[in-house]
């Protein structure tokens, strides 16, 4: 009685699993749309531009969330396991949460190196690649370069091209559709970029301070000059000594604008602003950071409008 063989029980359990697997096969995507998951909302916005109504797109991270610190919740597994394509930012931005999600997703299509695994950083222009010795004395450095590269419309275009090729490869029959969507996107983006550049033109060379190193690509494209950071090192919270140094630097160079991401505390930036007569502006690094930022275009519209307003009031 007591010795009821363990093997029998295990056998039963395994059999139950096998049975369940047989009875509930994965639902084939019913509407025949490609199921695209992205790590961040910006990549989702770009994928949507190219994929149109041939794809369903969803992002794991929200636009107002720090993309370094997303939680690997099991609810994401439910979405990832049916994905045909996973688009990631790469450069180790998601290293703290995406690898376990991928390996637990039980989805062969999106495993690292599989055809459905798409690293957008391979198509973008990457800045701030550390040279020489890389250690964590520099804080939470990204040895492969700054992963906030999507904030340059030219990179947006490059990534969109990559997505177009990938989608066409996965759905050759719709290649013409994706090509046409890309052409339209390129045309609209170039037009919008001309407008943005014109809007930012009067402020070329303005010095700003940012909280985290999220803005090098944005600053380069729009001709801004980032001279300091509220964080003493990436990922290290502000320290009194560094703050004092930063205030000194801002006074000396008369820096009047502090750019903060929506997921950082405003206490230190506000204190610095009070001391230096600068103004704090919360810019959105990602689509969806505010309700009104529903696509890649509105992201730049929002940030540039905010910046202009701040520059104008801090002459």
């Amino acid at each position: 009685m007591r010795n009821v063989s363990i093997e029998t029980r295990v056998l039963a359990l395994l059999a139950a699993f096998a049975l369940l697997s047989a009875v509930f096969p994965r639902p084939a995507s019913a509407d025949n749309k490609l199921n695209v998951m992205t790590a961040t909302t910006d990549l989702a916005a770009l994928a949507q531009e190219i994929g149109g109504d041939k794809v369903t797109v969803e992002s794991v991270a929200r636009g107002y969330q720090d993309p370094h610190f997303v939680e690997a919740k099991p609810s994401f597994l439910l979405k990832l396991r049916h994905a045909d394509l996973l688009i990631i930012v790469g450069l180790e931005l998601e290293i703290g949460w995406l690898p376990p999600l991928i390996s637990q997703s039980t989805n062969p299509k999106i495993q690292v190196g599989a055809p459905g695994y798409f690293d957008a950083s391979r198509f973008a222009k990457i800045l701030e690649i550390p040279t020489g010795v890389v250690t964590r004395a520099e804080g939470d450095v990204h040895p492969l370069g700054n992963p906030h590269y999507w904030l340059d419309p030219e990179n947006g275009l490059r990534i969109a091209k990559g997505i177009q090729n990938k989608l066409s490869e996965m759905r050759p029959n719709d290649a013409a559709y994706f090509a046409q969507r890309y052409d339209s996107f390129e045309q609209r983006l170039k037009q919008a970029d001309e407008k943005w550049l014109a809007e930012m033109q009067p402020y070329t060379g303005r010095k700003i301070v940012t909280y985290h190193r999220s803005w090098p690509n944005f600053a380069e494209h729009f001709g801004l000059n980032v001279v300091g950071y509220v964080e003493p090192r990436p990922g290290i919270p502000p320290s009194p000594q560094h703050t004092v140094e930063l205030i000194g630097l801002m006074k000396r160079d008369s820096v009047k604008v502090i750019v903060v991401e929506p997921y950082f505390d405003l206490k230190t930036p506000n204190a610095i602003a009070r001391d230096t007569g600068a103004q704090v502006v919360v810019l959105m690094p990602s689509v969806g950071g505010e309700k009104e930022i529903t696509d890649y275009f509105k992201l730049f519209d929002y940030d540039i409008a905010k910046l202009k307003q701040t520059f104008d009031t801090t002459k």
């Binding site: 790469g90 039980t106 190196g113 370069g145 919270p237 929506p262």
Partner: protein, 453 residues
């Protein structure tokens, strides 16, 4: 046993075949059945060879580490990861290890492939613990480098990844975990093979350095094998189960050899232990979620050895239920979070009574703990412990702890914990109080893979 082994072998074999077929042979319709078989065999042989190669590689790496004098390790020729698709031109441009200027300017498409070498991610976590105060029941050393955990993690091939954690303690070296995970099986199955911490409740799966407290709860020590817990060589199979929309349901079945600390002991080959786990999860909003689990473990224990009874009749059955509620506002995720967790354990252990008769000893234990992230650098926590002992169910130890953690960065922690215990003092046949202050320094070197949620 044979039946089981045969079934498992079939399952493994067919899964691997399936995975390979799905990836490498998408269009098999025009190939005859015989040649398909041939190709399959060849593919399988190829995989076996690569796996053997990987094992050899890991072994030599381990040896190197053990000899512990290889600082010049990375100076050899750099090998690019086969799966990293280098762009044409990228390779020929940089024969010498001087990609610095190249990386600064020419980065299109090369960023990932440049730096990723064929080495696994290697990390070391140091765990230094100091203890002061009075505890006559389970005293620990005043100062110790409690554990140095070396982690090696890599993707093995398109079908699998492997994780190994080797822990160097004060008393010796121990493979804490070392397993391969097959990520590309059909039917949504996830297979793990190797030595691993069993999927029994929550705290049993957590490595020492990832615990929310310096120590493990009393109930772990009394009923579930102490620090090492249920950690054994075995095979694990898990799968998402059908569930209502927005519910996450996962079932796990595991078979182990049956040797785990003082919980399970296998005297015969067929004395394997089994673990079953069911996990239910649901988001209650974007900031809050609920995580529930039920676990069962069964195996032989050592209580019958050296007695007139048949040792094969002495089993331990363990049951557990766990509940976790987490809160973390997305906009302020790095500043504030809260976690409440409680785990209940029931143990039914066959043993000899003082009168030398066969008896099943029942024991119950639990812990409840809470952690609150006050700001980016400070975390507060508290825990209540209550647990009987596996071999003597009526003697219940009680305790509580409070902890304060300081995070200089993501890669180090400094902690202080006050621990009170009212513990059974067997030699003196009475309860005795333990009051202790513990402190801990944790530091992470290298690339340590993210922990499961």
């Amino acid at each position: 046993m044979k039946r089981f082994a045969a079934l498992f072998a079939w399952l493994l074999f067919s899964s691997i075949l399936h995975a390979q077929e799905a990836i490498s042979l998408p269009s098999k319709s025009d190939v005859t059945a015989a040649s398909t078989e041939d190709v399959r065999m060849k593919a399988l042989e190829g995989q076996l060879r690569t796996l053997a190669g990987e094992v050899a590689l890991l072994r030599s790496e381990l040896k190197q580490l053990r000899e512990a004098k290889s600082p010049e390790q990375a100076s050899g020729p750099q090998v690019l990861l086969a799966s990293s698709h280098p762009q044409p031109g990228m390779l020929s441009n940089s024969p010498a290890p001087a990609p610095a200027q190249l990386a600064q300017t020419q980065t299109y498409g090369g960023a990932t492939s440049n730096a990723k070498l064929l080495n696994p991610d290697i990390s070391l976590i140091g765990d230094f613990i100091g203890t002061a105060g009075r505890n006559t029941i389970s005293p620990s050393r005043s100062l110790e480098l409690h554990e140095s955990e070396v982690g090696m993690q890599a993707i093995i091939d398109p079908y699998a990844r492997a994780d190994a954690f080797i822990s160097f303690g004060e008393e010796g070296v121990n493979v804490e975990e070392g397993y391969v995970t097959f990520t590309s099986l059909p039917a949504g199955l996830l297979l793990k093979v190797g030595k691993m911490r069993a999927e029994f409740g929550k705290v049993n799966t957590i490595h020492n350095h990832a615990l929310p407290f310096i120590d493990r709860p009393l109930v772990t020590n009394n009923l579930v094998g102490g620090e090492d817990g249920i950690d054994d060589a075995g095979i694990s199979l898990s799968r998402f189960l059908p569930a209502p929309k927005d519910w996450f349901l996962q079932g796990t079945a595991q078979v182990y050899r049956g040797d785990s600390s003082d919980v399970f002991a296998a005297h015969r080959r067929q004395d394997v232990s089994v673990v079953g786990h069911l996990r239910v999860y649901r988001d209650l909003g974007e900031s809050t979620n609920l995580d529930l689990g039920a676990s069962y473990a069964r195996g032989h224990n050592g209580a019958g050895v050296g007695t007139t009874f048949d040792p094969a009749n002495f089993l331990t059955n363990l049951y557990s239920a766990d509940a976790t509620i987490r809160w973390k506002p997305l906009r302020r995720a790095i500043y504030h979070s809260f976690l409440f967790r409680t785990e209940l354990f029931w143990s039914a252990r066959d043993q000899l009574s003082p009168l030398n008769t066969f008896q099943t000893q029942h024991a119950f234990g639990l812990y409840s703990s809470g952690e609150y992230r006050v700001n980016r650098r400070w975390t507060l926590g508290g825990r209540f412990d209550r647990s009987a002992r596996a071999a003597g169910g009526s003697l219940t130890d009680t305790g509580f702890s409070s902890i304060l953690t300081y995070w200089p960065s993501e890669f180090s922690q400094i902690r202080g914990q006050y621990r009170y215990g009212r513990l059974w003092d067997a030699p003196n046949d009475r309860f005795t109080n333990a009051n202790e202050f513990l402190f801990q320094f944790l530091f992470v070197m290298g690339a340590h893979g993210a922990h499961p949620f």
